[in-house]
């Protein structure tokens, strides 16, 4: 009924509702388009179809348990979700400096592998949306190698919940170095191959060059971070601006593009993958031995062998399993560079064993709502490509 009324008001314009079950929306997104012929006059994104109340669920779980639901937010990059939340809680506990170096370096390697995996999904599905059929198979086959590493590390391929408050869930597997070495040998050639079939392809170029342009001022007003703002001339990368996990010790560049168009959003991803490979190389060479968990019995479970013999260890085990631990009251904001942009965690504690509020600043949420600005004046056929260029993951948009 509402649609009919709107149509009568603007007789020349057509209202077109795209989604929510359109495969090219990368999930469940509805966009209401107002069309003048084939030109988009206005676009109104609608979200919430995948809303699962993750922030509410996190309030019902203890601090350590909440990692498992935070995992399921951005479901193609669970390591970065975990790490952002864990860093926020560690900051609130004041144990950031006491995390063992092995855990920190392992986190960096895993997060960078996750970044490559997430970028490969973006590139594969994005180029596929523009008609490049081969890209999705090439990208996903390479991503599978990364998931193999994750399976060896955390036991599962997707939602590992491997990064814990105080370190890691368990030690890295013995053959971890060899597996990553193997991937580092394989990856550059495969990614160059993927770049060669896409970026300079005339069809790809004609469909992306100059499309959905965004200026730096627009990007700031619309709350853009990550690749969306770095293609407008800014070098804003949380890893450089607010380093965490020792990112200041690695030698890497932040690629910057000036055009702000769709083509540069794809092109920047390839460069970011190569920078991530550089970071993994350095981190792998400097992976120290030693403990992977903080030595604090009030926060992490004691070793199982000790529980069978020591009274104190048994009490600690029981207390941690039954109750968890308290986090001092207060507010903490911690941001990290997720594959999609700045992923912020605003964590509020009231001094108890459960979070009082876990607010997630989702980067995709803001890039999806920038569609209403950047789509204006473009053709309907550009819609699919522009949505892909935002790199939305609806588990994170809707939480």
């Amino acid at each position: 009924m509402a649609l009919k009324e709107q149509q009568q008001e603007k007789k020349d314009h057509m209202i077109l509702s795209v989604g929510p079950h359109h495969p090219a929306t990368h999930g469940v997104l509805r966009v209401v388009l107002e069309l003048d012929g084939e030109t988009i006059v206005s676009a109104q994104p609608e979200t919430g179809f995948l809303h699962t109340g993750i922030e509410k669920q996190a309030e019902q779980l203890t601090w350590q348990q909440a990692i498992t639901v935070i995992d399921r937010m951005d479901y193609v990059s669970s390591f970065t979700n975990n790490c952002g939340y864990v860093l926020a809680v560690e900051k609130a506990l004041g144990i950031t400096d006491r995390i063992p170096p092995r855990a920190t370096v392992a986190r960096v390697i895993l997060m960078e592998l996750q970044r490559i995996a997430s970028h490969l999904i973006f590139l594969g599905t994005g180029i596929f949306d523009l008609g490049g059929m081969a890209a999705i198979f090439w990208a996903f086959s390479l991503r599978d190698r990364i998931l193999d590493i994750f399976e060896a590390v955390g036991g599962v391929r997707f939602h590992t919940s491997y990064i814990r408050i105080g370190g890691l869930a368990k030690d890295l597997p013995e053959n971890f170095k060899e597996m990553v070495e193997e991937f580092l040998k394989l990856a550059p050639g495969r990614i160059e191959e993927l770049r060669d079939i896409s970026l300079e392809n005339p069809i790809f170029k004609s469909r992306t060059k100059g499309i959905a342009k965004m200026t730096y001022e627009q990007a700031l007003a619309l709350g853009q971070t990550g690749h969306m703002i770095r293609t407008t001339g800014s070098d804003y990368d949380v890893r450089k601006y607010y380093p965490y996990c020792g990112y200041e010790n690695y030698d890497f560049k932040v690629p910057v593009y000036q055009d702000g168009d769709l083509w540069s959003r794809f092109a920047i991803r390839f460069e970011e993958i190569f920078e991530s490979l550089k970071i993994i190389r350095q981190a792998l060479d400097n992976l120290p031995d030693g403990p992977w968990l903080i030595d604090d019995r009030k926060l992490v479970l004691p070793p199982k062998a000790e529980v069978k013999e020591s009274m104190e260890a048994l009490i600690h085990h029981f207390k941690l399993v039954q109750y968890g631990f308290d986090v001092p009251a207060g507010e903490v904001y911690q941001c990290i560079e997720s594959p999609k942009g700045e992923l912020g965690f605003y964590v509020v504690s009231d001094g108890r064993n459960k979070p009082m509020r876990v607010r997630v600043r989702p980067p995709c949420f803001y890039s999806i709502y920038s569609l209403s600005e950047i789509l204006k004046g473009h053709m309907v056929s550009d819609l699919v490509a522009v949505i892909a260029g935002c790199d939305p993951i609806f588990g994170e948009v809707d939480r």
């Binding site: 919430g48 109340g53 619309l222 605003y346 920038s370």
Partner: protein, 192 residues
């Protein structure tokens, strides 16, 4: 600046905000802005009254805080009255300074919308409205964003039950008596 490591640069920027921007802010808006002690993340923070929010935000934008990072709602029920807080993070780009504005408000209060200054406040405030029921004055399109349009209640309120019969959810708010709250439990006392 170049010889400092990035951590020190961040700390220095935050200290500069605490030492220079916050006193100026307190002076420019007497009675409307109140300083809060730092928490573990060392980001300077202030309480702002709802009426002053828009002018304070514009003032900060003029001082170089060009990026609004996030708008978050927090429900402090039953510990505080008024129960809600709307939290804004601002950042200086390309400098590293950050500041946190916290606006205390009750269910009846209206918080001015910042969507005319930052376009991103539009969806962010819609989400706070959807999840907490806080009304934003002057918002162009204050509708639900994550929950369906016919949803009843505001799920991120602390007294909204995570499980239980739908009828209990429809009770008038704030309904702190006889509500079904299966997971909100008190911590055991020491020694028990």
């Amino acid at each position: 600046m170049a010889d400092l490591n990035p951590h020190e640069r961040v700390q220095q920027a935050l200290q500069r905000v605490a030492a220079e921007v916050v006193p100026d802010l307190l002076e420019a808006f007497p009675g409307q802005v109140e300083e809060i002690p730092l928490t573990a993340d060392r980001i300077p923070q202030v309480f702002v009254t709802p009426d002053a929010l828009e002018t304070v935000a514009l003032w900060l934008k003029g001082k170089g805080f060009v990026q609004l990072v996030d708008v978050a709602g927090v429900d402090y029920w039953p510990h505080r009255e008024p129960r809600f807080e709307v939290v804004y993070h601002f950042r200086e780009l390309p400098n590293l300074g950050m500041i946190r504005l916290r606006v205390r408000c009750s269910e009846q209060d209206q918080v001015p919308s910042l969507s005319r200054i930052w376009g991103m406040a539009n969806p962010a405030e819609r989400e706070v409205y959807d999840q907490f029921g806080i009304i934003f004055k002057g918002h162009p399109n204050l509708k639900r964003i994550l929950n369906p349009d016919d949803f009843e209640g505001h799920p991120l309120r602390r007294d909204y039950p995570i499980r239980g019969p739908r009828d209990l959810i429809k009770l008038a708010m704030p309904a702190d008596e006889g509500r079904y709250r299966p997971f909100v439990s008190e911590p055991p006392e020491e020694g028990k």
